[in-house]
């Protein structure tokens, strides 16, 4: 048992040394309780210190260690070797993002999109701290709680062929987070988000492949968030056509 091994085929791209990526095979000890991230750390510490990848918490909270594991976007801290053993495991950077080095992608585009949709709470009315908290009922919390579980791991982007073909698409997580704040009873910035998320590059570019929801490690259901935003926008549009005198 102790000397059993498993093969990892790891995507390598070292921009200063090679113009094309390649795959490098590593034999690592097989442990039932090891995840792919443990195997990568073993490589980094024991076999090849040049291998570069992101990670932090090791417990599915920080969202840093997302990679393609056998072609599927996964948090490598939650992908157990035992689910693949004895077959080799192919580890690649998240799909559709530019690769900076080895397994590290450039997430600038995603961060920019979070800004575009104002993915933060804007209180309806600012009040001084002395006035106390912005109160909310459990029912009001329930309406957006699922979407607030997003950890920005970008697995949903790596699963979305629409994002792969149209990088201008705002994408699953950013729209889910916009929806999270739009549904928050304390928030008052839905109109500021409307231009970005109700645009063609927003919800209407989504063709509802639905794989974003399948790969989400936090059950956020970004595909649901996008379809619900489509219903909201369509309802608003019909109201503006049928009742142009109304506010909305």
């Amino acid at each position: 048992m102790a000397d059993e091994t498993i093969t990892l085929e790891v995507f390598r791209y070292r921009p200063d040394e090679e113009s094309e990526p390649r795959y490098q095979r590593y034999e690592v000890p097989y442990r039932e309780d090891w995840v792919v991230l443990d195997a990568l750390n073993h490589i980094k510490d024991q076999l090849d210190g040049t291998l570069t990848f992101r990670w932090s918490c090791r417990m599915g909270v920080c969202g840093s260690c997302g990679m393609m594991v056998n072609g599927d976007p996964k948090l490598t801290c939650a992908a157990f070797l035992r689910d693949y053993y004895p077959e080799p495991i192919r580890v690649e950077p998240l799909n559709y993002f530019p690769v900076i080095c080895d397994l590290v992608i450039n997430m600038e585009d995603f961060l920019h999109k979070l800004g575009e949709v104002n993915a933060w709470l804007v209180p309806q009315q600012e009040k001084p701290v002395s006035d106390g908290e912005y109160l909310q009922t459990p029912a009001e919390l329930a309406h957006y709680k699922q979407f607030s579980m997003c950890i920005n791991c970008m697995l949903c982007y790596a699963a979305c062929p629409v994002y792969g073909h149209h990088p201008e698409f705002i994408g699953p997580a950013a729209i889910a987070l916009a929806q999270r704040y739009n549904l928050d009873s304390r928030d008052g910035a839905a109109e500021d988000r409307a231009e970005a998320i109700f645009s063609h590059e927003g919800i209407w570019q989504c063709t509802f492949v639905g794989d974003c929801t399948r790969v989400c490690p936090k059950d956020v259901d970004p595909a649901g968030a996008i379809q619900q935003a489509k219903v909201t926008h369509t309802t608003q549009w019909w109201k503006s056509v049928l009742m142009p005198w109304g506010n909305k």
């Binding site: 791209y13 900076i100 029912a139 329930a142 073909h165 509802f208 639905g210 794989d211 929801t213 379809q227």
Partner: protein, 141 residues
């Protein structure tokens, strides 16, 4: 005064990046992608039925044309077309109804109404409307 954090993007810093092309057969790489493409393809059958209904409506005022249209419907080519189209439309409808809970969210206080109930009520509505249409046309015939 607090210090500002300066971030330099890899692109702006002139770092070389590798952009992986999306292969033309991307939709064969994963079962979910393939089923999505099948669902998209079934739109053709839905569109085909819409055209069929328009043609039928167009012939409605001319008894001879209506008769000729019905004769065409009974032709082997038309029957073969229906044998292909019907399963496609049924697949499209089923996948459509199964996806309705994603878009229709109904809350009962803190509890979300079960997705099964949302999809189920859509199926029931589908059956009732189909029954009424069949009853109307078969009754008229």
């Amino acid at each position: 005064m607090t210090g500002e954090t300066q971030t330099v993007s890899p692109k702006a810093a002139g770092a070389k990046q590798y952009i992986r092309p999306v292969p033309a057969n991307w939709w064969l790489k994963r079962k979910t992608y393939f089923l999505f493409m099948v669902r998209e393809l079934t739109c053709l059958a839905v569109g085909g039925y819409a055209v069929l209904l328009l043609v039928m409506a167009g012939c409605a005022r001319d008894e001879q044309a209506f008769h000729a249209f019905f004769q065409w419907l009974e032709s082997p080519f038309s029957i073969a077309l229906h044998l292909i189209s019907l399963p496609m439309v049924v697949y499209h409808s089923i996948t459509w109804f199964n996806l309705t809970p994603k878009a229709m969210v109904v809350w009962r206080g803190e509890e979300r109404v079960s997705p099964v109930l949302i999809a189920g009520s859509n199926y029931v509505a589908w059956l009732i409307v189909s029954f009424l249409i069949a009853w109307f046309f078969l009754g008229a015939a």
